[in-house]
Symmetry: D2
Subunit: 359 residues, 4 copies
């Protein structure tokens, strides 16, 4: 009933605090026989890592991980896969000033109220460091997806008011070629400049991540509540700082007519049923129709800013909070691999769940 598990068939259990011994994840339900590519885990952890560029937090985290179980001679065995990432750079001094105060728009107040106790160092369990466990297990899920031909690619489509065009077929190389992970190189440059400016001002800025899933089989997703897009929405909304989710036509659908919005069917030259438009975003009735899935995820600006803010302390007395610590001026460049990880976890879960649909 507590909330640190995700998935029904491909299920992860995560644990760990920002300044405790480390962050980890146990995957229960990965089928046996999958080749485990440690480099893919390493690569995605590096993409999520602090300190990777000048526009992200300069906090140092050691992302070296250890596989504690579930692998034999390089392959999954069907038993739980445990991955552990030990914390290293923990400057606890940085956080002592917030032990008694609630940082605005952080989880300090709500954790204290809910549990009556709070690990205030680095945000404890509410720290974005928690997403390392998502990325590590998401990399395993990606391997399962890849095995079945599913490819997941996310990229930054906006930072503040700078909007890059949305891309139907995003190119991972282009995305990784710039530090903001935008699929459009010229918009990327503008975004980097904006983030740099924001960072110098001690402020932070929001942004949007797009995610495209290609190579989808038909049939993933379960009616009624576990519609594929409902599970994707939950997955994405559970990432720190996310405020909105849409797929396919998204919020624009609210202004459209049925005669504009409907995707008409045809059979392509390979005999596959396709739709001529894709306002459905690859999902109809909660079940994948084989077209690409596309989603958009809105991130708020990071709450830690270098600026005096009004707040209250544990006794409810008025006080002032000023962000110190090392923080991200904009979360979206590092959110890209997290979004991909969550998409992969949903797909892995539904690949397995769909095996139950027929005799």
């Amino acid at each position: 009933m507590a909330g640190s598990q995700f998935g029904k068939a491909f299920r992860i259990s995560t644990y760990g605090e920002s300044h405790g011994p480390g962050i980890g994840v146990v995957i229960d339900g990965c089928p046996a026989g999958l080749d485990l590519d440690l480099d893919l885990i390493e690569k995605d952890l590096q993409r999520r890592r602090p300190g990777q560029s000048k526009i992200v937090t300069q906090r140092k985290e050691d992302e070296s991980f250890e596989i504690l179980s579930g692998i034999f001679e390089g392959k999954t065995t069907g038993t739980p896969i445990s991955i552990f990432i030990r914390n290293k750079d923990q400057r606890s001094k940085d956080y002592s000033h917030i032990a008694q105060k609630y940082r605005p728009s952080h989880a300090d107040f709500t954790y204290d109220s809910k549990y009556g106790i709070r690990d205030y160092k680095g945000g404890g369990r509410s720290s974005a460091r928690e997403t390392a466990a998502r990325v590590a297990s998401g990399a395993v899920a990606k391997m399962l997806c890849n095995h079945y031909g599913i490819k997941i690619t996310a990229y930054v489509s906006s930072v503040g008011s700078i909007k890059a065009p949305e891309i139907e077929n995003p190119d991972a190389e282009v995305i990784e070629s710039n530090i903001v992970r935008c699929a459009d190189p010229s918009a990327a440059e503008e975004m980097i400049q904006l983030i740099t400016k924001i960072r110098k001002a001690g402020d932070t800025i929001g942004g949007i991540v797009c995610c495209v899933v290609q190579g989808m089989p038909v049939g993933l997703g379960e009616p009624v509540f576990d519609k594929l897009h409902a599970d994707l929405a939950k997955a994405m909304m559970s990432i720190n700082a996310v405020k909105g989710f849409e797929y396919g036509s998204g919020f624009k659908a609210a202004e459209m007519k049925g005669s504009e919005h409907n995707d008409q069917f045809y059979t392509d030259s390979d005999g596959l049923v396709k739709t001529d438009t894709n306002h459905s975003g690859g999902i109809q009735g909660g079940i994948s129709n084989g077209m690409d899935i596309n989603m958009k995820i809105a991130f708020k600006p990071v709450a830690t800013i270098v600026k005096d803010q009004n707040s209250v302390d544990k006794e409810g007395k008025a006080t002032t909070v000023t962000g110190k610590g090392r923080h991200d001026p904009c979360v979206v460049p590092r959110a890209v691999p997290i979004v991909e990880a969550m998409a992969a976890l949903v797909m892995a879960d539904h690949i397995l769940r769909n095996r139950q649909s027929k005799l």
Copy 2:
């Protein structure tokens, strides 16, 4: 692993098809001792009912329900509560033409592909009739919410390009005073005219429903994956025709700075911790902070339109589909009680789950 259950502590299992014997729901986990108000169930089912006004489908559904278990002398007993709504007006002839064809942007193709068999009458399980079970069980969840002082109110904020102002403190009487369920009477009038026009044209139109949750206790929601807003997102995205979800500052947050977005804390005259703004939408770190929760849910235009559309049949051959049947020109007026029901189900679940947080 199939998807017809929702909730972990307050868990519903729904069943039923559009043209089968009926639609039902079993609630497992409702605490004992709650007074069951049958009128509230009846009232919400009436708000969801087809044929309730000139701007919704003129299909007749009998919404009379029967409580099959779980109630003794007017109170819940802690055992499963089963509610059944028998189908009555079933014109199966209306649907025979789609047995072999896939209606664009419906679930026909995906169901057939996933299961190898499809109850084509009225959409079977993919019919919006399924939402009656949500509304009935949601009404019970509302009673639990009410018991703890939580009040849930949804309303239509846009239809097509007609946008009503968003309301912080929506008035249920105003909302129910117009057939489109808009909180702003003058916008309501425009919306009704637009829907009427769209209906005459045989077309359909999308819209947006807003939902406000007031009287929230602090502490509902579970880190990490079962954040309160993540569960709300999943709940709303699982409703037929929903394409997007946002809460608090939503997609606008992506354009904001931290210095604009952060909600500063203060203690009010009752000694309660509050925030001066509410971009957090009442949720911080996935846990309710006592401020109102507000959400926005985007609905696409209904897929059934009176117009020839290209499609394919079960053999993949090109064909034409024309909407017959009786359908809604715009889904949002009837979606209002469904959105409220899903919000109530999430809150009821988290009220119970939160009992586990402390010794």
Copy 3:
């Protein structure tokens, strides 16, 4: 988190009270394409039915059932299957005397303490009538098992001190040929006489049901906690009046040496791996090995007896309770189809879960 659901992949939700509108079950997770044989459901409900012979309760229950969803043209569609059995013969007067008193070894006291409210009519939710939902859904599970060649047969092996020999390959025809459902006709006769004598004395008697599962595939069951026999144990122990469970060598294993107990492997003429003995009871490491599964389930004597017994009332005051109503002198003849149903539900669940074990 309430307890009226069973199974993870093939999941049932049951509801209903002895004297409410009826008893029902929703199956979520049955694969599409299974032919539904209504006669099999009917047949098993008849085997569980009160009043079927002179040695069971003479209470009349109408076991006619209605399929409310999930079936289209005689086949399962992959959507939830709902089955409802309406209560008919409800003599509420019979139970008024126990509204304020706790019957010894019944659930009256514990329900009242746990929930603060109790449907005292016929035991409410704690009534054995609840098992009708198990039998109905178990019949569907049996159809799935049959589809995969699995055959489940239970029989009575003892009543009181009368013990019939255990049978490796029980014959359903022989079992159903006598009203006590013993696989040995001469022991059956003795059992019937004993039960008749017990009944006349206003007393009740315990007994043992054996269950054999044949045609098992290799590989069903999940390490570590969801071992096949652990799930079977839970399934059987959840039946009213069950006090003990063993499989394979069972309690006798505690007295055996490894050199006696180990089952040595060989390959049979069909190239299948077999064991020369079957102390493992068809399960090794929690996973089926293809040999027959055999289990033994101990039932206590029914708690309702025609005899004055000491008890207390709701205020804790001493009082006397005397069994009236109509009750079974011995539960095992009617428990046979219930045991089979629970075994089938476990097997159906693990058939589906096992689809996840490999790529």
Copy 4:
């Protein structure tokens, strides 16, 4: 849907293999504010440890553990508690001979069949080393139980044909004063002699563990499927080598009359409702009635014996297997803390689940 999780509210996820990096467990759902006593974890791990006496396996395992998360300043925080026990003494050479052969009555054949791959070193995931994770998390569950006054005590009641008397109120000091963990010192002596003799003969022997739960509150356990004793049965049957479970009157109930078996109620001098006998074993209708819970769990003899046995290899060819390695001649002395751990995990789960029963 894989099987390495246990519990619904107090949920553990275990992982790890005998000869991999280690064994671990993540607890999700432990309430905040519990004092974590590391010594209690250490003590129970020592009671389960190989090499603790001359009658258990002489294999050396380092049981030093690390808490990876969930604790802050000595208290639980409500976030997942992760405990890791690193493997140290791994003589992989000992196991090379079984890579291609199936040991009789082990899980080699079934794992290979189910997964198509098997970590053969020390039995991999099927090794009894897995129970260290149960004991570590069970120790945390015990702390929660202790907080609510619940005390759990297990002891050995039989080894082979040597039977000690069953004890209503077992004394932990007496039990721990002898290496076989029998509550009766003179029977303990006989048991130790028998095990020593069996060990010298290269054979193994079964036994029985009894468990008593005292200080039970009224109301734990959920009807219908999650009856307290059904969850206990599953918990115990999931332990390696267990073949049978009974509670209260157990299998003897099958021979009893209702007039003998019923437990009559009375109110004691403290105003508490009690029963004069306890055939119910502290549970009525699946819910605790406040009386002590007592259970009996039968263990088979360990499958590894120093003796040539017939078997087959991966190709199905006849071969001979001889136990080498270091193994237990009798599992029950080390099973005592495992049984206690599983009982504690069930009680912790139901303590939390019961918070949902009333408004």
